[in-house]
Structure formats: structure tokens, C-alpha cells
């Protein structure tokens, strides 16, 4: 193997053959500890595939997942461990990168059957949205926390405000994203917000968390776990389900995106300025080939920026493009977050979005998009590294 970076590719080399998740809970409501949630999701994904869990030889995760690979391998009695990759970076920026790392392990010959997962029990370990109990602070947060810029809503609102200012984006664009997620969750029995619809009036009347974010612009916090099983393309058809192929993956960020505090040159950005072109180049596809999108909603404003950076519209067109009807399955121009996503299905740190993209390509979503050969996942806008993933059916190879 050799050649330039762009001639080396994951395209079509690995396939998702199984997906699984636990029941999704409100934060603190899980009856199971975090590690048990991870085990349940992994076993569920293996059952979906028709795979003996002892055949797993690698684990990949992100955001410092506490369910560590060696303990998982011992608990499951796997025959051996060959790959154990953790993607640097917090938030959901690694939800697609973890899949890419697993895929790379398989393509490079390091492992044969890798589980990618995320497990989270906030009742056991604490919430992301509360910051009490810290006496002194240094590093990036020292420049932020003493000024009340404490938790993710406050850390990202100014980025979104700047983007809105630069491009004339209105609150209604963000509202449409929240409404689409809640709409889709109403027919998804897994969703934490199943049976709890949202309309524009309720959104408008909801309290501010940090302007420009209303309550419904912010993700939930939840307990649960989700997992998928990845194998090489040669083995993809040995399993029970229709294989879903990795067409492309990318992660990272552009020039000095990591300059703290809030000193990245491209500030009003979701950090995909270099990562989106890398993804499309690997897949040999463009935005017009994508039939359905799952985009990580830490905050709706991040979705607006991420979709623009993936080429679905210019930032100046956001108000026109981002209407509720455009974002709904099956009839919208670009069905978005068809399971309800982080806002309304479960904040599984974005891994529920990866599973939903697999369902879309299989044709088994509760909100099936009509163009489902190519599904895009966008992970963790506004952080660094961010990541993304294009999945596709057999027909796209």
C-alpha cells in the first residue's frame, strides 16, 4: 500500500454489520451502572449481527469513555484483543472518528472485528451541565469559568452569536432544527422525548439558557449506551443484516482551531472547514449525493454552521433552507436527525446518530428517508477535533 494520502482510502473497505443500544434514560435514571450499560449495548449489537461476542477483537470509543477496552475484553471473554483506540477530545467530536479509527484498524490488518461504542451514566459520574465543586482552575477554563462561562451552553453561545452576526442568520433557523428533531422523535419509541411534542410557540416561550440558545436549542443529558460492530468488506455478507459500508470518514480541524481561549482564527465556525472537504474527497461524493443527514446537536446553532460547512447551503442562505418542512422525513429536501438525535431521542454523545444513519441505509428507520443510499453523520460541531462519516449501501460501491 502506498501513494498519496488521497489515494489511500477507507471507501468500501469495512461495513457495519450490527447495531445495538440500551434503553435510553433521563440523566440519573439508569438502573444500571455505566459499564453494565456498555456491555448490554455491545451484546445487543452482536445479537443484531448474529455474531458471537467472543469474536470481537477490538474496541474503539471517544471522549474518554470510562468503559475501558481490556475490561470489556475480559468481561466478554473475547478470545483476544487486537485494537483499543481512544479518540482524543471531548464532547461528541469523536463519535464518527471512533468509527474511522476502528475502520483503519481493520483495513491496516490490526484487527478483524471491532466494536465502536459510547456509554454514559451521568447519575453515576456527574453531569456535563453543572460545574459546582471546583475550587481552583487552570488552563483554558481559567480564562472562562471565573466569568461565568462554565458549561457547554455558555462556551458555545458566543460562537453561534458571531456566526449569526456575520451571516444574518435568524433564530427561526435554529428553531427549525429543534422542531425537526422533536417531530421525528414522536414516532420513535426509543426516544426519551417520545410522546412529548414541541411546536414553535412552545419553543418561543421556553426559557433562555444562554442567548441565543433557548432551552430547546440545547441537547438533553442522558444515560445509556450504544454500539456497532464493524468488519472487513470481505466478511460483510456473512452476517444477518444488510451490510452498511463506510464510504468515507474524516476528523480533525483547520488552522489553529485549538487556540484557546476563544482565539481560533475562524471563530464563527463548526470546525469543519477542512474536515468536510476531506470527507467528500475520500468518498468521491458531494453534498448533492447525500439523501439524509444526522448532525450532532450539542446546540442547534452548531448544526446550522456544520450543515453550511458541508455544502448544503451557503451561510447567507441558512434562513431560507432551514425550514421545518425542508428537514422532515420523508418529504423534506434534506431529512435531518430522523431519530430525534441529541435533542429528543437520546444524548448518547452522538453515537445514537451513527446508529440512525445505519438504520437509514438499511431502510429500517422510524422516519425513513426516500433517498437512503448515502447517509451523512456529522459529529460534535464547534469542538476540536470534530469528525464526520459517510455510510452507504452495496449499490454505492
Amino acid at each position: 500500500m502506498g501513494g498519496t494520502r488521497t489515494s489511500r482510502t477507507l471507501r468500501g473497505r469495512v461495513a457495519v454489520v450490527g447495531i445495538g443500544e440500551t434503553e435510553y434514560y433521563r440523566h440519573g435514571a439508569s438502573p444500571d451502572p455505566e459499564f453494565k450499560l456498555a456491555l448490554k449495548a455491545i451484546l445487543s449489537a452482536c445479537q443484531d449481527a448474529g455474531l458471537d461476542p467472543r469474536e470481537i477483537d477490538g474496541f474503539a470509543s471517544y471522549s474518554d469513555d470510562r468503559s475501558e477496552a481490556s475490561r470489556l475484553a475480559a468481561a466478554l471473554g473475547t478470545h483476544r484483543l487486537r485494537a483499543a483506540t481512544m479518540q482524543w477530545g471531548g464532547g461528541g467530536g469523536g463519535c464518527c472518528a471512533a468509527v474511522a479509527n476502528a475502520a483503519a484498524s481493520i483495513v491496516a490488518g490490526l484487527a478483524d472485528c471491532v466494536v465502536v461504542f459510547r456509554s454514559l451514566n451521568q447519575g453515576q459520574y456527574g453531569r456535563f451541565g453543572q460545574t459546582t465543586g471546583i475550587d481552583t482552575i487552570s488552563g483554558e477554563k481559567a480564562y472562562l469559568m471565573p466569568y461565568g462561562v462554565l458549561a457547554p451552553p455558555q462556551r458555545f453561545a458566543m460562537r453561534v452569536r458571531r456566526f449569526m452576526h456575520e451571516h444574518g442568520v435568524r433564530q427561526e433557523a435554529m428553531r427549525a432544527i429543534a422542531l425537526a428533531s422533536y417531530h421525528h422523535a414522536q414516532v420513535n419509541p426509543r426516544a426519551v422525548m417520545y410522546g412529548k411534542p414541541l411546536d414553535a410557540a412552545k419553543y418561543d416561550a421556553s426559557r433562555w439558557i444562554a442567548e441565543p440558545f433557548h432551552l430547546y436549542d440545547c441537547c438533553m443529558e442522558n444515560d445509556g449506551a450504544a454500539a456497532l460492530v464493524l468488519v472487513s468488506e470481505e466478511r460483510a455478507k456473512e452476517f444477518r443484516q444488510k451490510p452498511v459500508y463506510v464510504l468515507g470518514a474524516a476528523f480533525g480541524s483547520g488552522y489553529r482551531t485549538g487556540a484557546i481561549p476563544h482565539n481560533s482564527p475562524l471563530y464563527g465556525s463548526a470546525s469543519f472547514d477542512t474536515v468536510a472537504p476531506d470527507l467528500y474527497r475520500m468518498a468521491g461524493l458531494g453534498p448533492s449525493d447525500v439523501g439524509v443527514v444526522q448532525c450532532y446537536e450539542n446546540f442547534t446553532g452548531g448544526v446550522v454552521m456544520a450543515l453550511a460547512e458541508h455544502g448544503f447551503f451557503k451561510p447567507e442562505e441558512a434562513n431560507d433552507f432551514l425550514t421545518l418542512e425542508n428537514l422532515l422525513a420523508p418529504s423534506g429536501r434534506l431529512p435531518l436527525n430522523t431519530s430525534g438525535g441529541n435533542l429528543a431521542e437520546c444524548y448518547m454523545h452522538g453515537f445514537e446518530l451513527v446508529l440512525e444513519a445505519v438504520r437509514q441505509v438499511r431502510g429500517t428507520s422510524t422516519n425513513q428517508a426516500p433517498r437512503n443510499d448515502v447517509a451523512l453523520v456529522i459529529g460534535g460541531p464547534m469542538v476540536t477535533p470534530v469528525s464526520n462519516l459517510l455510510l452507504g449501501s452495496d449499490a454505492t460501491l
Binding site: 482552575i137 471565573p146 466569568y147 461565568g148 458566543m158 433562555w208 482565539n263
Partner: protein, 161 residues
């Protein structure tokens, strides 16, 4: 700069900023305690850099020199925060955080609070000036850099003791 102690923008209890164990940002925090805003500027290629790092991101010369800059700038972005993410902010009401760029230091940016009425209209591009907020009785003592509209145009002024 005056040495008066300004009232704290927040109730006490938020995390206290301290330099990292390796001391990278220590000159910055020490500077604030003496009413001086220090930003790194490469002594080799003159590039401004904030937050601090051990080398200049442009020319890779180590240990960029801490250089005093006038604490004034313009609002690059802002947010009005309502939800208390810390117990010390319960029932405190909304507050404003601003991101201020310093054009005379190549546009490096700093986060602070905009003093005055928390419900005031905030306009990106507005010029603001720095106010040092000292917590001399804190353990450990520390100082922050806050921002306000220039006195001649301010509509709402915080009492300064």
C-alpha cells in the same frame, strides 16, 4: 490605571483561576494583580499570541515575551446567560459575557463580563475598556479583567468604590 478595588461582578464561589503547575500562564495572572494586561509577543517575529504557549506559532521561537498592552478593545461576540451552571449563581439573574478583540495586539481575544445593566443591548463592534477586578482577600488571591463601555458613552454605570 487606578488601584481601586472594584466590586465583584459575581457572588463569591466561582472557580479561582490559577496558573498551571508548569507556570505557562503565571505572568498573565500576576500581571492582572498589578493592573497590567500582559500578552505574549514573539521577540523574533513580533507575532502576538494569546492564550499563551511555550513557542511562537508562527516562527517557532521559544518563550514569546510577555508584553503589556492597553486594556481596550471591541466586542467580537457576546452572550446573555440565564441558566445557572453553578450553585453560586442560583437566583443571581442574567449576566453578560463578552468576547473582546484587541485590534492593537493583532486581534487577540479575551473573555470577560460586560459591566453594567445585564439587560443592556449589546452590539458587536462596540468599543470597550478594561477594568481590573481584584479579589485580594480570596485564598489564593487573584484578579480578573472585566469590560465596560467607555465612561463618556455609558448609559449604565456600576458603582465603583
Amino acid at each position: 490605571m487606578s488601584n481601586t478595588t472594584n466590586p465583584s461582578y459575581f457572588p463569591l464561589g466561582l472557580p479561582i483561576p490559577v496558573a498551571e503547575p508548569d507556570g505557562l500562564s503565571a505572568p498573565y495572572w500576576t500581571g492582572l494583580r498589578h493592573n497590567r494586561l500582559l500578552v505574549q509577543r514573539c521577540n523574533h517575529c513580533q507575532t502576538w499570541q494569546f492564550g499563551p504557549e511555550w513557542l511562537c506559532h508562527r516562527c517557532h521561537a521559544f518563550d514569546p515575551k510577555w508584553t503589556e498592552v492597553e486594556p481596550r478593545g471591541r466586542i467580537f461576540s457576546w452572550e446573555r446567560v440565564w441558566h445557572p451552571s453553578h450553585t453560586s449563581l442560583r437566583n443571581h439573574g442574567p449576566y453578560i459575557a463578552v468576547l473582546v478583540e484587541l485590534p492593537h495586539a493583532d486581534g487577540v481575544r479575551m473573555v470577560g463580563n460586560l459591566l453594567g445593566d445585564p439587560m443592556q443591548a449589546v452590539v458587536i463592534g462596540t468599543e470597550v475598556e478594561g477594568v481590573f477586578e481584584h479579589h485580594r482577600d480570596s485564598d489564593p488571591p487573584y484578579s480578573l479583567l472585566q469590560w465596560r463601555m467607555p465612561l463618556k458613552t455609558a448609559h449604565f454605570e456600576r458603582s465603583v468604590t
